[in-house]
């Protein structure tokens, strides 16, 4: 549901007033249908706590956490940053209006505080990002690989991921064509 | 010595016919299941697939005989034979006709209840020796279940024993008559209760749905026989379907008049050579007919109902069936004491029970056709092309 424009400014003011400017935030109404709150990555827990627990907001429903690797090779004016971009989507459980929180992490040693105590599902979303992108979630209750086998090397959704020629003795490319013999 | 050879030959014939019957039943069950599910079922091997079981058996003989490395190989090997033996031995004292029976044991019922425990031992052994956790769970569940359900089954059988005054199966059949009025199931309410309890307990002892939790396919992969392959699995397989025959035969013998077929077995027939062969054949067929009806019902239940959870299963046994069984077994004593046979009350009760039973069956068919009419959900396209 479209977030009312009036709410947007209210939210920005709210963030400012609660933290007295200690939290840098910026509201952008991007192409997304939902408003995006840009924050500094070290403030993530403060902002999420405000968004989830404040009685005027109540965005208790975590839709998803998404992460993106912004690599050097694809750098241009729209994606001007090198590093990782985290994208949290929260929804209000009453009218299901959504709000996104966006933050960026440096490319080497990306770290962010975990939010898995705010939502039961956050841990799995974080594990997926840890697995595929290699973002480290500090103080997470259970941070293991989720999609890939434990002995996997590298984080495949990074832009610079290179696939090896073999994995556990299985070649990763197909050398020969199928030799199918039809039996009559 | 000659007698021993005769006995041996007879035993082999018996064993083979049971194996054939069990094999044939697998095909029958798969066809019935197919019909219930708008499918066809096996129909490629032989006319309408009736020799499918031969293909299955010959294939199982060719399969590699796998004994898992960590399994206890001796127990693992003998477990299927114990299970099969337990099922096969229970058929020994059950009369298929006036003379068609292996051994006329005076302690027949006692013997059957004892032999049924072979199955528990075999299943436990197989489950434990496989060194597979799912098998172990299956074996444990099975042991708990079978031991529990032997109690109500024994209580139900007790009712019949009290009524017949004997443990001999043949005499139990004699003491019932050919017509439904003489069947134990319609003699009095307690016997009717006993029949229901016995049938449910027999389902549970035979590991059939809704009590098939030892081999619950969706929970325990395949239960106690998970690690078995080829020939050894075939024995479990045969035992399972042989069990159907056993349940059907026991129920028909104890409650539904056995092989009695529209004539009285009088004492003069007991002289060798006086008993007409056609009576024997007709009685045998009549008995088979009764058995097959119960086998069909069991198959029907299997393909309709979901299975129970283990605690619900135990609840049903100890909270409902055992008290009801006790009630029936005390009730039958009082009934036998106060209502002598062939008295007016006994006759009235017999006839009213029989008509009640008949009406129940009629009402059932009425409901089925009613449902078919109301639902109107015809199969959209005929799958039998």
């Amino acid at each position: 549901m479209n977030f009312p424009a009036a709410h947007l400014e209210k939210l920005a003011k709210l963030v400012d007033s609660v933290y007295n400017g200690a939290v840098s935030s910026e509201i952008v109404q991007a192409d997304t249908k939902i408003p995006v709150l840009k924050i500094n990555s070290r403030d993530i827990r403060k902002v999420v706590e405000l968004v989830v627990h404040h009685k005027d907001l109540g965005f208790t429903y975590l839709n998803t956490i998404s992460g993106t690797h912004l690599a050097e090779t694809r750098e241009d004016e729209s994606l001007d940053l090198k590093g990782f971009e985290m994208f949290y989507v929260f929804s209000n459980s009453q009218d299901f209006s959504s709000l996104a929180i966006k933050t960026t992490l440096p490319e080497n040693n990306p770290e962010i505080d975990t939010i898995d105590d705010f939502s039961g599902s956050a841990n799995w979303f974080e594990r997926e990002i840890f697995d595929l992108l290699g973002v480290n979630f500090k103080n997470s209750q259970d941070l293991r690989r989720i999609m890939l086998p434990p002995d996997w090397e590298g984080h495949p959704l990074r832009k610079d991921f290179k696939e090896g020629s073999h994995y556990n003795g299985i070649p990763t490319t197909r050398s020969s064509e199928l030799e199918a013999i039809r039996i009559e | 010595m000659t007698q021993f050879i005769y006995m041996f030959i007879f035993a082999v014939i018996y064993l083979l016919s049971i194996a054939v019957a069990a094999g044939f039943l697998t095909v029958v069950e798969r066809r019935i299941a197919g019909r219930m599910q708008s499918r066809i079922g096996p129909n490629r091997v032989g006319p309408q697939g009736i020799v499918q079981w031969i293909a299955d058996a010959v294939k199982a003989l060719q399969k590699e005989d796998i004994i898992p490395t960590d399994a206890h190989s001796f127990l693992f090997k003998i477990a299927p034979y114990l299970v099969f033996m337990g099922v096969f031995l229970t058929l020994v004292p059950i009369p298929f006709g006036a003379y068609t029976l292996m051994e006329n044991l005076d302690t027949g019922i006692f013997y059957v209840l004892a032999m049924a425990s072979f199955v528990v031992i075999g299943v436990m052994m197989g489950g434990w020796a496989s060194n597979n956790k799912w098998s172990l769970l299956g074996g444990m569940r099975s042991a708990a279940q079978m031991i529990s359900y032997e109690v109500p089954a024994a209580l139900a059988v007790f009712v019949v024993v009290v009524m017949a005054g004997t443990l001999n199966f043949q005499k139990i059949v004699f003491s019932q008559g050919a017509s439904p009025v003489d069947w134990y199931v319609f003699r009095n309410p307690f016997a009717f209760i006993a029949f229901n309890i016995f049938f449910i307990a027999a389902l549970a002892e035979g590991n059939r749905v809704p009590f098939d939790i030892p081999e619950a396919e969706s929970e325990l992969v395949s239960g106690y026989n998970t690690e078995y392959s080829g020939m050894r699995f075939l024995f479990f397989f045969l035992a399972e379907w042989g069990n159907l025959v056993v349940i059907g035969a026991l129920v028909s013998t104890l409650f539904f008049g056995g092989w009695n077929f529209w004539f009285e077995y009088t004492l003069e027939f007991s002289v060798p050579g006086r008993y007409p062969i056609r009576f024997e054949v007709l009685g045998f067929l009549w008995f088979l007919f009764k058995v097959s009806i119960f086998v069909f019902i069991i198959i029907w239940i299997r393909w309709t109902l979901p299975r129970l959870r283990i605690d619900q299963l135990m609840d049903i046994c100890w909270k409902y069936m055992v008290p009801i069984g006790l009630f029936a077994s005390i009730g039958i004593l009082l009934w036998m004491y106060f209502v002598p046979e062939k008295s007016l009350a006994d006759t009235i009760m017999r006839y009213s029970m029989t008509s009640f039973g008949g009406l129940t069956i009629l009402y059932f068919f009425y409901r089925v056709f009613q449902n078919l009419r109301v639902t109107k959900a015809k199969i959209y396209a005929n799958p039998f092309v």
Partner: protein
Amino acid sequence: MSLYHEMPENIFVTSVDQLLGWSRKHSLWWLLFGLACCSIELMHTGGPRADIERFGSAPRGTPRQADLIIIAGTLTYKMASRLKLLYEQMAEPKYVISMGSCSNCGGLFDKAYSVVKGVDQIMPVDVYLPGCPPRPEALLEALVILQKKIQKEKYLRK
């Protein structure tokens, strides 16, 4: 030099072979095992319209009792070791149908970093079945082709 090579084509051995082949081909119990999209079509093959049980093929939950494993879907590296284990747990003689493009050669997921490009890289395959996913009729044809192949096998002289 095997003894059989010196023997003429024995009529007895041949007909016993035929009987054994007949029984194996008509009793291909398949492992209840699906990986991805194709498993839905595999279910439908067991369902009313296609009804694979007509050919005597019943589903089994455990690999020990199965003769045929139908690799229905995409095989990932994480799953590959499990599948190999399953295959090794099956008792000889055992057969494999590779169902669908993904298990034939990786198919749509050719560029994926986590997908095995063809199940034949880890285990032998008897029949390859193309399609994404193949229709139930196609799976039935694969079964019939496998049956023909089994009938020609010489089990006693292997």
